[in-house]
Symmetry: C2
Subunit: 515 residues, 2 copies
């Protein structure tokens, strides 16, 4: 690899992308460690990545006509909506109505970001002059692909998922038989009953409708920018490689194409030593060990009552508990529990004393638990967290609780179950082995394919011919229509010939009788 | 890896399996090099692998009630049939009629082989006692899976292809959209016109019928041996991993499942020095270089006339030619051409002087040409050779000739084209780069997954839930029927309600009129 190769990374600014960005930053760091020059394209309103986050990377900051606060409020609104409704309950139409409005707003900000880059002639000239080799983008924030095409360089996607895999299916062309591939966000596993298969098919169709309604609005913009009739989906289909941030430890096996690489857990690393004070506390747990508890950085709106229910439950455990918690002091907090604004989660999960992990089910934390083989109690909040916990539950590595209905004893029971029922630890070890026992590590695989695209100016040999077909050609609807047409014509001719013969025979018979 | 781990390899005895066996032997050698104990199960009638072929492997030889000669004549008959007919010409029904008879015979011998192992109590006891960790089998010869189940050990498949991927699709559950995945043996590429898509769909259906007709006969035998109702296909679906002996250098990208690994070219190795006499002849070629010519080991029935056409063409080339040829001396043989009973093909293709390869298109030779980046002139004879050459032609690395219609000047032109049109060499280099530029080598990948199955007693985490569904559940036909039923009932009720309202309104109107 020449040390002079450069590549460019666009930054997503959606709140939900915080974990994705974290993972991408590790990929970026790995590329830098391998002597690549990396630039990160970031807006002035970006809240998750700011210049200086990776000292060796170059940041290209471009102005946008909105503030960080506008983004923040949008994310808060989405979390609140999910908190009060669910996409899979009988009130799902209300959920989608509200979500629609928020998506309109997100779409508007996304468009402004896109225009802020493409119409910034100075920036575009600078990017062109820098002669980057490749662009890495998360398609959840739209536009990376368009920038790559304007710069005339190949691009790769890094993606966790889109709802019901709409983008992966329609633009990435991977098949998803609804009989055993659960639609992402449908809260289903891969073992579907008759009723669940109906629900799954409906989930796919709802998300297809949502995708067409909101993402479809980009088609005319893409056509205008590229100066030829095209669609968002057609452009997305030009991604050389799709780096999917899961693997068959978390995900259920499903069909995919050769340009899809499953690199889940690429951010996981062996545990580093804990801060001294924390290590002392952990060691004081004796043979009972510790429980690590985090509901992530995005949920800070639990009521005091709920927090006290949790604190009370934790106080009843024989283990010591390390709780990532930011709020006022809780009355029910036990002597065995310490709260921290921030915790070194990976290092804690990798600690020999750790017995269980209470988590909201973010992909990041789930993968750290898988990496270190720690059974989980899942309390999912929103987005893909319910799906994640459900997958871990199906694989025998987690117990699930409902944050809305959970009582003190439920949490106590759940933690005791995952610690004392040996099956959970056994399954956690098995899943961890699956994660570790791969021909090469996920991070190395991700970097290999990024470098491959740089070396060969793409990865065309992995692209299925499906990308060249229209939707009706893909499903052979034209062939089916033709064959049905032929059958009908053949049947019609056969019927007419038969009728004629019958009539003729009848005539002959009648004639012979009258003779 | 413990050095004490053992595994077992069953041997195919079909003539067409010679290349497969060669490749499998390399996998076996690699396993032995990694300190595994390997046993090869082989019948007394085996013609392609005999005790001693790999000195470090143990051979378990079992008697069968037929001779090597019977096998040989069957293979010769199949080659003759293919030579005189083609499965894709208008006379294909004649081809399939004849092929059907030969398949019946092959099926009978296969059944006898299977029974010879399973009913050999002494052998089965010995195999059980040896406590093997894994069984590796080519599913083209049926029974390996059954032996594994009886021994209660996991098994893997190593497979080039089955016609129209019937086994991979129906038993392995990989999707194959007929709009861009050409049916194996259909002689189509992945870029299909409207007419070709019709041909492709028909190809799939013909092979499905053939599969059901001949392979379906094993269902009752499998049920009887396993002592429960089952099918051949269901049993085959229990393979932990499918090692497919192609990659995206030769194959067109298509969907697959996580338990499919594409390890094409795993037998390829850097060239070793040539025998001295051959090296001297090669060096005497000067700047023109050499052409390597082999139609494989299985075709020895070209007429003298055809051989003289070839010899005459070769004599007109400025290159020196090394021809693998076994037969009587040819009148037209030029001074630039030397014939050999056997040639070190891989070493010749890897020689710096080699400019082109004239080949029948066997997968083995094709992969050696890909490995060394040598453009080809393809003269396909039978089986998958036409498909192989077509793929290489579509990828710009080969020119195709028809053995039946080929004239002297056609061969001269074809060789000159692949040597002097720089595009062929450029494409050959590109495809070779694709082959070499993988995260890990195909042989290492194959061995990794065999060892994985040994370590974990299977690879269940890679198995899609599709294996648990019936065919109508897989295609959601029950759900579709239910939804159509609901729609019809709903429409009927709506119609009846509408009719009733209409009738009621009519009555009221009439009544008000009469009032």
């Amino acid at each position: 690899m020449a040390a002079q190769e450069k590549h460019i990374v666009t930054s997503s600014s959606a709140r939900s992308a915080v974990i994705k960005l974290f993972i991408r930053l590790l990929t970026v760091q790995e590329l830098i460690d391998r002597d690549h020059h990396v630039s990160i394209l970031v807006s002035t309103a970006s809240i998750f990545i700011t210049p200086g986050d990776i000292s060796a990377a170059k940041f290209e900051v471009y102005p946008v006509p909105f503030t960080k606060e506008e983004f923040d409020s949008l994310i808060t609104d989405i979390i609140k909506l999910w908190w009060n409704n669910k996409p899979t309950t009988p009130t799902f139409h209300k959920f989608y109505q509200e979500l629609g409005k928020l998506m309109e707003k997100a779409n508007k900000l996304n468009r402004q970001m896109c225009e802020a880059v493409l119409s910034n002639q100075e920036l575009m000239f600078k990017l062109k002059e820098a002669k980057y080799d490749v662009l890495l983008s998360d398609p959840v924030t739209i536009c990376g692909d368009l920038i790559a095409l304007k710069l005339n360089i190949p691009f790769l996607y890094t993606l966790r998922f889109t709802p019901a895999s709409t983008v992966e299916r329609h633009c990435g062309k991977i098949p998803a038989p609804p009989s055993y591939v659960p639609a992402a966000l449908s809260e289903l596993t891969d073992r579907l009953s008759f009723g669940e298969r109906i629900k799954n098919i409906i989930s796919y169709h709802i998300q297809d409708y949502v995708f067409q309604k909101y993402w479809g609005k980009w088609d005319s913009y893409y056509s205008q920018v590229l100066g030829r009739p095209t669609t968002l989906c057609e452009t997305m289909g030009k991604a050389e490689i799709w780096l999917i941030r899961t693997y068959w430890d978390l995900e259920f096996p499903r069909p995919f194409l050769p340009n899809f690489e499953f690199v889940g857990g690429l951010h996981c690393q062996p545990a580093k030593p804990l801060p001294e004070e924390m290590e002392d506390f952990v060691q004081s747990s004796g043979e009972h060990g510790i429980v690590v508890f985090s509901l992530g950085s995005m949920v800070q709106n639990l009521t005091d009552e709920k927090n006290n229910i949790i604190a009370s439950a934790l106080s009843q455990l024989p283990q010591k508990v390390i709780w990532r918690y930011k709020g006022k002091k809780l009355d029910m907090l036990g002597a065995n529990t310490r709260t921290y604004d921030w915790i070194p989660q990976n290092d804690l999960l990798g600690h020999a004393k750790t017995k269980a992990f209470i988590t909201h089910g973010g992909t990041n934390g789930i993968y750290e638990a898988i990496y270190h083989g720690i059974p989980m109690v899942g309390i999912p909040m929103f987005a893909d967290q319910t799906d994640n916990i459900l997958h871990m539950k199906a694989k025998g590595m987690a117990v699930e609780l409902n944050i809305h209905t959970m009582k003190t004893e439920d949490l106590v029971d759940a933690v005791n179950t995952v610690i004392h029922n040996a099956l959970f630890k056994k399954n956690a070890r098995r899943i961890s082995q699956i994660h570790h026992d791969q021909p090469i590590k996920p991070l190395d695989r991700a970097v290999f394919w990024i470098e491959f695209v740089m070396r060969h100016k793409g990865a065309k040999h992995l692209r299925a011919a499906a990308y060249h077909l229209t939707w009706y050609q893909y499903h052979c609807l034209d062939v089916i229509a033709f064959l049905i047409g032929c059958t009908v014509i053949f049947a019609f001719i056969a019927f007419k010939c038969g009728s004629y013969c019958f009539w003729k025979c009848g005539n002959i018979l009648q004639k012979s009788k009258t003779d």
